[in-house]
Symmetry: C2
Subunit: 201 residues, 2 copies
Amino acid sequence: MATTRERIITATAELFRRQGYNGTSLKQVTVAAGAPFGSLYHGFPGGKEELAEVVIEASGAAYRELFEVIADAAPDAVTAVGDFFDGAALVLEETDYVDACPIGTVALEVASTNDRLRRATERVFASWLEAATVRLRAAGVAPGEADDLALVLVAAIEGGFMLSRAARSPEPMRAAGRQVRRLVAASIAAAPVAAAPGTGT
Amino acid sequence: MATTRERIITATAELFRRQGYNGTSLKQVTVAAGAPFGSLYHGFPGGKEELAEVVIEASGAAYRELFEVIADAAPDAVTAVGDFFDGAALVLEETDYVDACPIGTVALEVASTNDRLRRATERVFASWLEAATVRLRAAGVAPGEADDLALVLVAAIEGGFMLSRAARSPEPMRAAGRQVRRLVAASIAAAPVAAAPGTGT
Protein backbone atom coordinates (compact mmCIF):
# COMPACT_ATOMS: atom_id res chain seq x y z
CA MET A 1 0.00 0.00 0.00
CA ALA A 2 1.58 3.27 -1.10
CA THR A 3 2.04 5.94 1.55
CA THR A 4 0.55 9.39 1.03
CA ARG A 5 4.05 10.67 0.25
CA GLU A 6 4.55 7.99 -2.39
CA ARG A 7 1.16 8.73 -3.95
CA ILE A 8 2.02 12.43 -4.13
CA ILE A 9 5.37 11.71 -5.81
CA THR A 10 3.87 9.27 -8.31
CA ALA A 11 0.99 11.60 -9.20
CA THR A 12 3.33 14.56 -9.62
CA ALA A 13 5.67 12.57 -11.86
CA GLU A 14 2.73 11.64 -14.09
CA LEU A 15 1.52 15.24 -14.26
CA PHE A 16 5.03 16.50 -15.08
CA ARG A 17 5.33 13.95 -17.88
CA ARG A 18 2.03 15.03 -19.41
CA GLN A 19 2.08 18.79 -18.88
CA GLY A 20 5.40 19.86 -17.41
CA TYR A 21 6.32 21.83 -14.31
CA ASN A 22 4.69 25.19 -15.03
CA GLY A 23 1.54 23.52 -16.31
CA THR A 24 1.04 21.53 -13.09
CA SER A 25 -0.62 23.08 -10.03
CA LEU A 26 -0.44 21.75 -6.49
CA LYS A 27 -4.24 21.59 -6.57
CA GLN A 28 -3.99 19.08 -9.45
CA VAL A 29 -1.41 17.10 -7.49
CA THR A 30 -3.69 16.76 -4.45
CA VAL A 31 -6.61 15.68 -6.63
CA ALA A 32 -4.54 13.14 -8.61
CA ALA A 33 -2.90 11.76 -5.45
CA GLY A 34 -6.14 11.69 -3.47
CA ALA A 35 -4.26 13.54 -0.74
CA PRO A 36 -5.45 16.50 1.32
CA PHE A 37 -3.65 19.81 0.77
CA GLY A 38 -2.36 19.72 4.33
CA SER A 39 -0.51 16.45 3.78
CA LEU A 40 1.23 17.94 0.76
CA TYR A 41 2.56 20.89 2.72
CA HIS A 42 3.37 18.67 5.67
CA GLY A 43 5.43 16.31 3.48
CA PHE A 44 6.95 19.04 1.33
CA PRO A 45 7.24 22.20 3.43
CA GLY A 46 9.22 23.85 0.61
CA GLY A 47 6.14 23.64 -1.61
CA LYS A 48 6.15 23.00 -5.34
CA GLU A 49 9.89 23.48 -5.79
CA GLU A 50 10.78 20.97 -3.09
CA LEU A 51 8.23 18.50 -4.41
CA ALA A 52 9.63 18.90 -7.92
CA GLU A 53 13.18 18.27 -6.75
CA VAL A 54 12.12 15.05 -5.03
CA VAL A 55 10.13 13.96 -8.09
CA ILE A 56 13.03 14.67 -10.48
CA GLU A 57 15.36 12.59 -8.31
CA ALA A 58 12.89 9.72 -7.85
CA SER A 59 11.93 9.64 -11.53
CA GLY A 60 15.57 9.76 -12.56
CA ALA A 61 16.45 6.84 -10.29
CA ALA A 62 13.49 4.80 -11.56
CA TYR A 63 14.41 5.42 -15.17
CA ARG A 64 18.02 4.48 -14.55
CA GLU A 65 16.81 1.26 -12.92
CA LEU A 66 14.73 0.53 -16.02
CA PHE A 67 17.81 1.01 -18.18
CA GLU A 68 19.81 -1.41 -15.99
CA VAL A 69 17.04 -4.03 -16.11
CA ILE A 70 16.86 -3.84 -19.91
CA ALA A 71 20.66 -3.99 -20.22
CA ASP A 72 20.87 -6.98 -17.85
CA ALA A 73 18.23 -8.85 -19.86
CA ALA A 74 19.88 -8.26 -23.25
CA PRO A 75 22.53 -10.64 -24.62
CA ASP A 76 24.86 -7.77 -25.57
CA ALA A 77 25.20 -3.98 -25.52
CA VAL A 78 24.01 -3.46 -29.09
CA THR A 79 20.82 -5.41 -28.44
CA ALA A 80 20.33 -3.53 -25.17
CA VAL A 81 20.43 -0.18 -26.99
CA GLY A 82 17.88 -1.36 -29.54
CA ASP A 83 15.63 -2.79 -26.80
CA PHE A 84 15.72 0.47 -24.86
CA PHE A 85 14.68 2.66 -27.80
CA ASP A 86 12.13 0.15 -29.12
CA GLY A 87 10.68 -0.23 -25.62
CA ALA A 88 10.34 3.55 -25.32
CA ALA A 89 8.63 3.66 -28.75
CA LEU A 90 6.19 0.93 -27.70
CA VAL A 91 5.32 2.63 -24.42
CA LEU A 92 4.69 5.88 -26.29
CA GLU A 93 2.28 4.12 -28.66
CA GLU A 94 0.50 2.30 -25.85
CA THR A 95 0.03 5.42 -23.71
CA ASP A 96 -1.20 7.81 -26.40
CA TYR A 97 2.25 9.48 -26.44
CA VAL A 98 2.04 10.58 -22.81
CA ASP A 99 4.44 8.22 -21.07
CA ALA A 100 7.75 9.71 -22.10
CA CYS A 101 10.87 10.75 -20.22
CA PRO A 102 9.82 11.74 -16.71
CA ILE A 103 12.15 14.73 -16.53
CA GLY A 104 12.62 15.96 -20.11
CA THR A 105 9.88 18.60 -20.18
CA VAL A 106 10.81 19.90 -16.74
CA ALA A 107 14.52 19.98 -17.66
CA LEU A 108 13.86 22.40 -20.52
CA GLU A 109 11.40 24.51 -18.52
CA VAL A 110 13.76 25.05 -15.58
CA ALA A 111 17.13 25.22 -17.39
CA SER A 112 17.23 29.04 -17.39
CA THR A 113 14.61 29.81 -14.73
CA ASN A 114 15.23 27.71 -11.60
CA ASP A 115 18.79 26.78 -10.73
CA ARG A 116 17.90 24.39 -7.90
CA LEU A 117 15.73 22.30 -10.24
CA ARG A 118 18.20 22.66 -13.12
CA ARG A 119 20.87 21.13 -10.91
CA ALA A 120 18.51 18.28 -10.03
CA THR A 121 18.04 17.48 -13.73
CA GLU A 122 21.81 17.78 -14.26
CA ARG A 123 22.40 15.16 -11.56
CA VAL A 124 19.86 12.81 -13.12
CA PHE A 125 21.36 13.11 -16.59
CA ALA A 126 24.85 12.58 -15.12
CA SER A 127 23.61 9.42 -13.44
CA TRP A 128 22.17 8.07 -16.68
CA LEU A 129 25.34 8.96 -18.59
CA GLU A 130 27.40 7.11 -16.00
CA ALA A 131 25.19 4.02 -16.27
CA ALA A 132 25.47 4.01 -20.06
CA THR A 133 29.23 4.62 -19.98
CA VAL A 134 29.78 1.70 -17.61
CA ARG A 135 27.87 -0.63 -19.95
CA LEU A 136 29.68 0.64 -23.04
CA ARG A 137 33.09 0.25 -21.47
CA ALA A 138 32.19 -3.26 -20.33
CA ALA A 139 31.33 -3.97 -23.97
CA GLY A 140 34.85 -2.97 -24.99
CA VAL A 141 34.39 0.65 -26.06
CA ALA A 142 37.35 2.92 -25.29
CA PRO A 143 36.78 5.37 -22.38
CA GLY A 144 36.57 8.68 -24.29
CA GLU A 145 34.44 7.12 -26.99
CA ALA A 146 32.15 5.56 -24.38
CA ASP A 147 31.54 9.04 -22.91
CA ASP A 148 30.67 10.37 -26.37
CA LEU A 149 28.37 7.46 -27.17
CA ALA A 150 26.60 7.76 -23.83
CA LEU A 151 25.93 11.44 -24.52
CA VAL A 152 24.51 10.83 -27.97
CA LEU A 153 22.49 7.90 -26.64
CA VAL A 154 20.76 9.98 -23.96
CA ALA A 155 20.42 12.98 -26.30
CA ALA A 156 18.83 10.80 -29.00
CA ILE A 157 16.37 9.29 -26.51
CA GLU A 158 15.31 12.74 -25.30
CA GLY A 159 15.03 14.08 -28.83
CA GLY A 160 13.27 10.88 -29.87
CA PHE A 161 10.62 11.48 -27.22
CA MET A 162 10.16 15.04 -28.47
CA LEU A 163 9.81 14.13 -32.15
CA SER A 164 7.68 11.05 -31.52
CA ARG A 165 5.30 12.94 -29.26
CA ALA A 166 5.04 15.86 -31.69
CA ALA A 167 4.31 13.55 -34.63
CA ARG A 168 2.34 10.99 -32.60
CA SER A 169 4.47 8.32 -34.25
CA PRO A 170 6.92 5.76 -32.85
CA GLU A 171 9.12 6.14 -35.92
CA PRO A 172 11.44 8.95 -34.72
CA MET A 173 12.26 6.99 -31.56
CA ARG A 174 12.80 3.78 -33.57
CA ALA A 175 15.00 5.54 -36.13
CA ALA A 176 17.07 7.13 -33.37
CA GLY A 177 17.47 3.67 -31.83
CA ARG A 178 18.58 2.11 -35.12
CA GLN A 179 21.22 4.79 -35.62
CA VAL A 180 22.56 4.71 -32.06
CA ARG A 181 22.74 0.91 -32.30
CA ARG A 182 24.78 1.36 -35.44
CA LEU A 183 27.21 3.67 -33.63
CA VAL A 184 27.59 1.33 -30.69
CA ALA A 185 28.11 -1.68 -32.97
CA ALA A 186 30.78 0.18 -34.95
CA SER A 187 32.58 1.28 -31.78
CA ILE A 188 32.57 -2.23 -30.36
CA ALA A 189 33.78 -3.69 -33.67
CA ALA A 190 36.60 -1.12 -33.76
CA ALA A 191 37.59 -1.63 -30.12
CA PRO A 192 41.25 -2.67 -29.84
CA VAL A 193 40.51 -5.60 -27.53
CA ALA A 194 37.09 -7.21 -27.71
CA ALA A 195 35.44 -7.85 -24.37
CA ALA A 196 35.13 -11.46 -23.34
CA PRO A 197 31.75 -13.09 -24.03
CA GLY A 198 29.34 -12.52 -21.17
CA THR A 199 30.76 -9.12 -20.24
CA GLY A 200 29.32 -7.46 -23.31
CA THR A 201 26.15 -6.17 -21.69
CA MET B 1 12.26 49.15 -38.32
CA ALA B 2 10.34 46.20 -36.93
CA THR B 3 6.56 46.47 -36.87
CA THR B 4 4.69 46.00 -33.60
CA ARG B 5 3.64 42.56 -34.82
CA GLU B 6 7.24 41.61 -35.53
CA ARG B 7 8.38 42.86 -32.13
CA ILE B 8 5.66 40.81 -30.44
CA ILE B 9 6.67 37.66 -32.33
CA THR B 10 10.39 38.13 -31.62
CA ALA B 11 9.82 38.85 -27.93
CA THR B 12 7.53 35.85 -27.54
CA ALA B 13 10.02 33.55 -29.27
CA GLU B 14 12.73 34.69 -26.85
CA LEU B 15 10.48 34.18 -23.84
CA PHE B 16 9.45 30.69 -25.07
CA ARG B 17 13.11 29.75 -25.48
CA ARG B 18 13.95 30.84 -21.96
CA GLN B 19 10.87 29.76 -20.02
CA GLY B 20 8.51 27.84 -22.27
CA TYR B 21 4.84 28.31 -23.12
CA ASN B 22 3.20 27.85 -19.74
CA GLY B 23 5.85 29.97 -18.04
CA THR B 24 5.22 32.94 -20.34
CA SER B 25 2.38 35.40 -19.72
CA LEU B 26 0.93 37.83 -22.22
CA LYS B 27 1.80 40.58 -19.76
CA GLN B 28 5.49 39.60 -20.07
CA VAL B 29 5.15 39.63 -23.86
CA THR B 30 3.79 43.18 -23.92
CA VAL B 31 6.58 44.38 -21.63
CA ALA B 32 9.33 42.64 -23.61
CA ALA B 33 7.93 43.81 -26.95
CA GLY B 34 7.26 47.35 -25.73
CA ALA B 35 3.76 46.96 -27.14
CA PRO B 36 0.47 47.95 -25.54
CA PHE B 37 -1.89 45.14 -24.54
CA GLY B 38 -4.44 46.33 -27.08
CA SER B 39 -2.04 45.84 -29.99
CA LEU B 40 -1.44 42.28 -28.89
CA TYR B 41 -5.12 41.42 -28.92
CA HIS B 42 -5.63 43.36 -32.12
CA GLY B 43 -2.84 41.44 -33.88
CA PHE B 44 -3.66 38.08 -32.31
CA PRO B 45 -7.40 37.98 -31.57
CA GLY B 46 -7.07 34.29 -30.65
CA GLY B 47 -4.87 35.29 -27.70
CA LYS B 48 -1.93 33.30 -26.40
CA GLU B 49 -2.69 30.17 -28.41
CA GLU B 50 -2.84 32.02 -31.72
CA LEU B 51 0.31 33.97 -30.88
CA ALA B 52 2.10 30.74 -29.97
CA GLU B 53 1.12 29.10 -33.24
CA VAL B 54 2.49 32.05 -35.23
CA VAL B 55 5.69 32.06 -33.14
CA ILE B 56 6.23 28.31 -33.58
CA GLU B 57 5.85 28.65 -37.34
CA ALA B 58 8.07 31.74 -37.59
CA SER B 59 10.77 30.28 -35.33
CA GLY B 60 10.70 26.99 -37.22
CA ALA B 61 11.13 28.75 -40.55
CA ALA B 62 13.99 30.88 -39.22
CA TYR B 63 15.79 27.85 -37.82
CA ARG B 64 15.38 25.96 -41.07
CA GLU B 65 16.85 28.94 -42.90
CA LEU B 66 19.83 28.88 -40.52
CA PHE B 67 20.34 25.20 -41.34
CA GLU B 68 20.26 25.93 -45.08
CA VAL B 69 22.75 28.80 -44.72
CA ILE B 70 25.18 26.61 -42.77
CA ALA B 71 24.77 23.75 -45.24
CA ASP B 72 25.32 26.06 -48.23
CA ALA B 73 28.50 27.46 -46.67
CA ALA B 74 30.02 24.03 -45.87
CA PRO B 75 32.16 22.18 -48.42
CA ASP B 76 30.29 18.91 -47.84
CA ALA B 77 27.45 17.33 -45.84
CA VAL B 78 29.68 15.89 -43.12
CA THR B 79 31.26 19.27 -42.44
CA ALA B 80 27.81 20.89 -42.49
CA VAL B 81 26.59 18.53 -39.76
CA GLY B 82 29.60 19.29 -37.59
CA ASP B 83 29.23 23.04 -38.19
CA PHE B 84 25.57 22.96 -37.20
CA PHE B 85 26.14 21.19 -33.86
CA ASP B 86 29.31 23.15 -33.06
CA GLY B 87 27.52 26.39 -33.91
CA ALA B 88 24.65 25.46 -31.58
CA ALA B 89 27.17 24.63 -28.83
CA LEU B 90 28.90 27.99 -29.29
CA VAL B 91 25.65 29.96 -29.20
CA LEU B 92 24.67 28.13 -25.99
CA GLU B 93 27.96 29.11 -24.36
CA GLU B 94 27.73 32.70 -25.54
CA THR B 95 24.14 33.19 -24.35
CA ASP B 96 24.42 31.64 -20.89
CA TYR B 97 22.60 28.52 -22.19
CA VAL B 98 19.43 30.42 -23.04
CA ASP B 99 19.54 30.58 -26.82
CA ALA B 100 18.54 27.02 -27.69
CA CYS B 101 15.96 25.50 -30.00
CA PRO B 102 13.09 27.99 -30.32
CA ILE B 103 10.38 25.33 -30.18
CA GLY B 104 11.79 22.42 -28.13
CA THR B 105 10.43 23.43 -24.73
CA VAL B 106 7.03 24.32 -26.15
CA ALA B 107 6.90 21.07 -28.15
CA LEU B 108 7.18 18.99 -24.98
CA GLU B 109 4.78 21.18 -23.02
CA VAL B 110 1.99 21.02 -25.61
CA ALA B 111 2.45 17.45 -26.93
CA SER B 112 -0.33 16.02 -24.75
CA THR B 113 -2.16 19.19 -23.76
CA ASN B 114 -2.86 21.36 -26.83
CA ASP B 115 -3.41 19.63 -30.14
CA ARG B 116 -3.41 22.80 -32.25
CA LEU B 117 0.05 23.73 -30.97
CA ARG B 118 1.26 20.14 -31.09
CA ARG B 119 0.40 20.06 -34.79
CA ALA B 120 2.30 23.31 -35.29
CA THR B 121 5.43 21.75 -33.76
CA GLU B 122 4.88 18.61 -35.85
CA ARG B 123 4.85 20.71 -39.03
CA VAL B 124 8.06 22.48 -38.01
CA PHE B 125 9.89 19.23 -37.26
CA ALA B 126 8.64 17.77 -40.55
CA SER B 127 10.04 20.80 -42.37
CA TRP B 128 13.44 20.41 -40.73
CA LEU B 129 13.48 16.67 -41.45
CA GLU B 130 12.70 17.37 -45.09
CA ALA B 131 15.53 19.92 -45.31
CA ALA B 132 18.00 17.48 -43.79
CA THR B 133 16.80 14.60 -45.96
CA VAL B 134 17.23 16.65 -49.14
CA ARG B 135 20.84 17.47 -48.18
CA LEU B 136 21.65 13.89 -47.21
CA ARG B 137 20.23 12.51 -50.45
CA ALA B 138 22.18 15.11 -52.43
CA ALA B 139 25.29 13.81 -50.65
CA GLY B 140 24.58 10.31 -51.92
CA VAL B 141 22.76 8.71 -48.97
CA ALA B 142 20.05 6.21 -49.97
CA PRO B 143 16.45 7.46 -49.44
CA GLY B 144 15.38 5.30 -46.48
CA GLU B 145 18.71 5.80 -44.76
CA ALA B 146 18.52 9.56 -45.35
CA ASP B 147 15.15 9.62 -43.55
CA ASP B 148 16.65 7.72 -40.62
CA LEU B 149 19.71 9.95 -40.45
CA ALA B 150 17.59 13.10 -40.61
CA LEU B 151 15.51 11.84 -37.66
CA VAL B 152 18.53 11.04 -35.51
CA LEU B 153 20.14 14.35 -36.50
CA VAL B 154 17.17 16.43 -35.34
CA ALA B 155 16.62 14.22 -32.27
CA ALA B 156 20.29 14.55 -31.28
CA ILE B 157 20.18 18.33 -31.66
CA GLU B 158 17.09 18.58 -29.47
CA GLY B 159 18.52 16.22 -26.89
CA GLY B 160 21.84 18.02 -27.13
CA PHE B 161 20.14 21.29 -26.23
CA MET B 162 18.48 19.61 -23.26
CA LEU B 163 21.65 18.01 -21.88
CA SER B 164 23.87 21.04 -22.57
CA ARG B 165 21.42 23.41 -20.90
CA ALA B 166 20.98 21.11 -17.89
CA ALA B 167 24.75 20.73 -17.43
CA ARG B 168 25.61 24.27 -18.56
CA SER B 169 28.24 22.71 -20.79
CA PRO B 170 28.71 22.70 -24.58
CA GLU B 171 30.08 19.15 -24.43
CA PRO B 172 26.81 17.18 -24.86
CA MET B 173 25.97 19.15 -28.01
CA ARG B 174 29.51 18.73 -29.34
CA ALA B 175 29.54 14.98 -28.59
CA ALA B 176 26.17 14.56 -30.30
CA GLY B 177 27.58 16.42 -33.31
CA ARG B 178 30.68 14.23 -33.47
CA GLN B 179 28.59 11.07 -33.42
CA VAL B 180 26.02 12.25 -35.97
CA ARG B 181 28.89 13.34 -38.24
CA ARG B 182 30.29 9.84 -37.91
CA LEU B 183 26.95 8.32 -38.97
CA VAL B 184 26.61 10.63 -41.95
CA ALA B 185 30.21 10.00 -43.03
CA ALA B 186 29.69 6.21 -42.82
CA SER B 187 26.45 6.40 -44.81
CA ILE B 188 28.04 8.52 -47.52
CA ALA B 189 31.07 6.22 -47.70
CA ALA B 190 28.75 3.20 -48.02
CA ALA B 191 26.52 4.84 -50.66
CA PRO B 192 26.43 2.75 -53.88
CA VAL B 193 27.12 5.74 -56.15
CA ALA B 194 29.04 8.68 -54.76
CA ALA B 195 27.52 12.08 -55.51
CA ALA B 196 29.44 14.27 -57.92
CA PRO B 197 31.66 16.94 -56.34
CA GLY B 198 29.74 20.12 -55.65
CA THR B 199 26.44 18.36 -54.97
CA GLY B 200 27.63 16.96 -51.69
CA THR B 201 26.26 19.69 -49.46
